[in-house]
Amino acid sequence: MSDAAAQLALVAGFAVAALAIARAGGLPLGGAVGRAAARATVQLLVVGALLAVLTDRPWLVAGFFVVMWATATTTASGRIGVAGLWPAAAAAIAVPSAVASAALLGSGAVPVSALSAVATTGILVGGAMSAASLTGRALVRELAQGRERIEARLLLGDSLREASAEAVRHAVTSGVVPALDQARTVGLIALPGTFVGLVLGGASPAVAARVQLLVLVGLIAVELAAGLVAAHAIVRRLTVPGAERLAPLASSRTD
């Protein structure tokens, strides 16, 4: 049996184990586990094959970026669930991740190659997507639950941006918690992907640690920016034009 076949067999074994655990625990996750495992298998096989031929095909690198950003934007907008948010989500994810990628690659901190550009940008796009999604969901929840408090501020003549500032702060903070946790626990609980990848690729642990540090702290900045842009875009989308109030999110009172 080849290495690849053995690894795929092990993947199937883990997936079956996860399905069995879900069933034994009475968890309605069988379908989700199966679909996630199958989707990840297909996606990673395709990505692995594409990355192998990436270096001499620049147009393929550009296509990779477009697919990454489009997928991340669609995923984040869908998770947040506010209509018409796609353009703002695209900006929230693309701009901070592109700036940070350019800084990492342009400074020479990360080797300049098609492969490292895709890998580095992928990490940053993933972080921005996660932060935008978490921030957006938290903000929609905060706006719905804190509606009376926000309206109390509006009644004193505050703009919706001013009245929702507290909700935005809470949401952005909660959106960046995973990145902060990862930075706090790095090396103590788990070795992150960049570090592992570089060491497996032959880099010294010291070099791998320095690059990982750059990526981790860069991620915090990217996620903060993505969360803030997404949060303000959500407030704008949920503002009734010209009336400086929140659009209905749930039920409305009649008397």
Partner: protein, 216 residues
């Protein structure tokens, strides 16, 4: 001879629908400077929705709302809400202290002495200024919310069941404060079921019909 001044608040054939259901039809009503008008009606008739529509937290389905003769939907809603202040039925205080809440009403420009005067005006001890807003009772919260709205120095004060959490004595004090403010030129529209508040303020009572017109 000069033209008479426009009413501080004027509702001109205002209709209110909620989810396609008509609540109010063609309500016409004027509140002049220095006047207290009380709106009464059974629950579900749209009184709260009407007050919210006046300050553009909702939209009337028809008719016109004018503040000082100017349509309420021309210009920024933030400016409208500083001229026409609504105290909600369940007011929310921000804190951390009562003084901070009063300063929020005045948008930051309120002296300590002015804050104490507002509290005393509403029958609360001046020392309340330093009290934590989240430690107040329902009745105290209601009175601080009215004081906070007064700190904004509006031309129209809209009150939604302001005495719901007040005892008899506190209601009398509130009524006295409203009478004093009205005599100073403030126009007040109050939604209430409280006969004691009605009697103590001497408000002109307008009962909302299911449909039809109420004369000014």
């Amino acid at each position: 001879m000069t033209a008479p001044a426009a009413p501080a608040l004027e509702l001109d054939r205002v209709s209110i629908d909620v989810s396609g259901r008509p609540l109010l039809r063609d309500l016409s009503l004027a509140v002049t400077a220095g006047e207290i008008v009380a709106l009464t009606a059974p629950s579900g008739r749209g009184k709260t929705t009407l007050l919210r529509a006046i300050v553009r937290l909702g939209d009337p389905s028809g008719g016109a709302v004018r503040i000082g003769g100017a349509p309420h939907d021309v210009g920024p809603a933030t400016a409208l809400r500083r001229r026409a202040c609504l105290v909600a039925q369940r007011p929310v205080l921000f804190g951390p202290t009562v003084a901070d809440d009063l300063a929020a009403g005045a948008r930051g420009a309120l002296s300590a002495e002015a804050a104490r005067r507002l509290l005393v005006e509403l029958g609360l001890p001046a020392a309340f200024a330093g009290k934590a807003s989240d430690e107040l009772s329902g009745g105290e919260t209601a009175r601080v919310a009215v004081a906070r709205a007064l700190a904004a120095e509006p031309v129209v004060l809209l009150l939604d069941e302001p005495s719901a959490a007040l005892d008899h004595a506190a209601t009398s004090h509130l009524a006295g404060a409203l009478r004093a403010r009205a005599s100073g030129g403030l126009a007040i529209l109050v939604v209430t079921h409280d006969d004691h508040l009605l009697a103590q303020t001497g408000a002109r009572v307008v009962e909302l019909p299911p449909t039809g017109s109420v004369g000014a």
